[in-house]
Symmetry: none
């Protein structure tokens, strides 16, 4: 029966409501009652699906992370020049963020926050940055990327991505402006030049 209403079952209604409220009011600033209300379910229903408020947050984090990873994982990167591959990746990540502003904002808030257990955060970083690490290594062997300490470069990539998406999230009207888009990639890529 529920299948009729587009898959928006109570569980995902709760996740959606939580995503928006956590973004606008923070984790502790959002009451479970308000999440349930926004999701259009009873308070008990929330706890039927998620053992605790923390568990809800973690599920949300994992869901968003997985969606993002899947979006990038589905990409077909052409053989050839590393810079072209990196550009495709960068724009794909940027476009995902622009297309999913709520999820991106959630990431901005929680990917570095104390609210998420350290292990979860590190796992997420690993999953996403692991791939970047391989690219950097290749680039260094090809001589197109500076030979700087890898962990520092990874943290830098993460920071660049966060600041670029922050920029576009705050100015949605520039999201499709090619000057700014190109500039964001240039900053990212040039930083690693030898």
């Amino acid at each position: 029966m529920n299948k009729i209403n587009g898959g928006a079952d109570k569980r995902s209604q709760i996740l959606n409501a939580a995503l928006k409220l956590f973004n606008s009011q923070g984790f502790h600033g959002t009451s479970t009652a308000s999440i349930a209300k926004a999701a259009g379910v009873a308070t008990g229903t929330l706890f039927h699906h998620f053992a605790t408020k923390e568990a809800l947050l973690e599920t949300l984090f994992l869901t968003v992370k997985t969606e993002f990873a899947d979006a990038l994982g589905a990409l077909k990167l052409p053989d050839g020049e590393l810079q072209r591959q990196a550009k495709i990746l960068w724009f794909a990540a940027l476009d995902w963020a622009i297309a999913n502003p709520d999820k991106q904002q959630f990431f901005q808030q929680f990917s570095l926050s104390v609210e998420i257990p350290l292990t979860l955060r590190e796992e997420a970083m690993q999953g996403i940055l692991g791939f970047i690490g391989t690219m950097i290594n290749q680039g260094q062997q090809q001589g197109v990327i500076a030979r700087l300490p890898l962990p520092l470069m990874l943290e830098n990539c993460h920071g660049q991505y966060l600041s670029a998406t922050r920029f576009f999230l705050d100015r949605p009207e520039l999201a499709s402006d090619s000057t700014h888009r190109e500039a964001s990639f240039q900053l990212f890529w040039t930083a690693m030049r030898p």
Copy 2:
């Protein structure tokens, strides 16, 4: 009486305790009672010095911001090459972060957080990044910095600084390793190259 003991009066004891607790448990995760306890004062005392918990947070934010700005403002930048000036500035900022890990972590958590009223955050950004803006302008006229949109570059500078300090805060043993220090500046500076 208290004035004798080097300024460790109850007010600053409260600020110090709040700094550490907000860092480790977040704003909402920290109760005023626990701050008072950690500060070694009665709960009522906290409210003698700060009208509300929010006011305490804002005072803390402004205090930390001012300290940081003062540290950089006191710097004597030599005439000459812009890159040299930028490097001095970068290392000064890095060293302040390393010397004040609690304050820097506080900044990491709250400079982008919903907990701090937007106006306060923007004001802080202005104060710190305004100066950088002038430097970038100069660099562009001299042809040593790429002519990319300024707001994007500022956001990028902020992001670079946050990721660099995050890196060194997580690895205090590298704080005085010159390879890593130089590398962090290289990433920052190279990004803006034409």
Copy 3:
């Protein structure tokens, strides 16, 4: 189908699970959900068989009481000396308690508890102690039992039984030690001596 498997139908599975959980966690401390889980049925099933949680408790109480009464009622008491009859009865009651520790513990907890409606409790006492009352009367006429107020003696018998079973339930290894068994009867019987 289930009728084949020796009466272990869902209804009695629920009663069995409730017995153990009420014993270990008390009535209010045990949730209907946990009873259903322990019984291996769905939460809804519990309410098919028992209108409310209270009704389940009362059914359990009556079931246990009936089993106990039946066990003693089936006894064939020999004619002759009252003390011999009393001893047979005492040991039978003791043995029932030892053979059914869960049910006995349930009795310990609920035969005096507020959770069970007063009328039910009194009814149960009546059923069990009524018989004892007759014996005491006989004994008094024969001059082998002291002529003390009957209600006090009945309460005393009940108390003696409870403390004796408590003793053996806490020390199962003594359940078949004849010294202790005899001693328990001696305390019980001697108390009523003229």
Copy 4:
């Protein structure tokens, strides 16, 4: 200021209210809100004085136990016949129960209940029955008490006391009837006769 109103400070008002409500509705059946209301304080006040509802129960238990022990401990037992000493003790205990029906009923409910941690219960038993143990030992050496296993006798004494007080609590009009009072002691003492 509070000293004026007879020492009924908020903390003891809460203890008094809890005593009555736990008696009539059981531990789990009594909400902390109702205790606070009955005590005439705010809900927060209850938790200011007692960390948890369990802690309140334990404090109450210890308080009542201590009062009882003090009442008996203050007794001056005359030298001489053991039975006379026992009688004085028995009546003192009985009178305390009659004079403090709420506290005694509380004891009836909780001295054997799962709600009170085992260690606390055992400690309480030790404190009260330890003294009885010594008396029984003496009596056995003098040949006036049967040589039955001590633990069984102690459990029996406890049971006798509980049933006697239950009897008088249910029938306050008999509390000063000397026939019943004497009978209760006779049952208690005779039980242990050789």
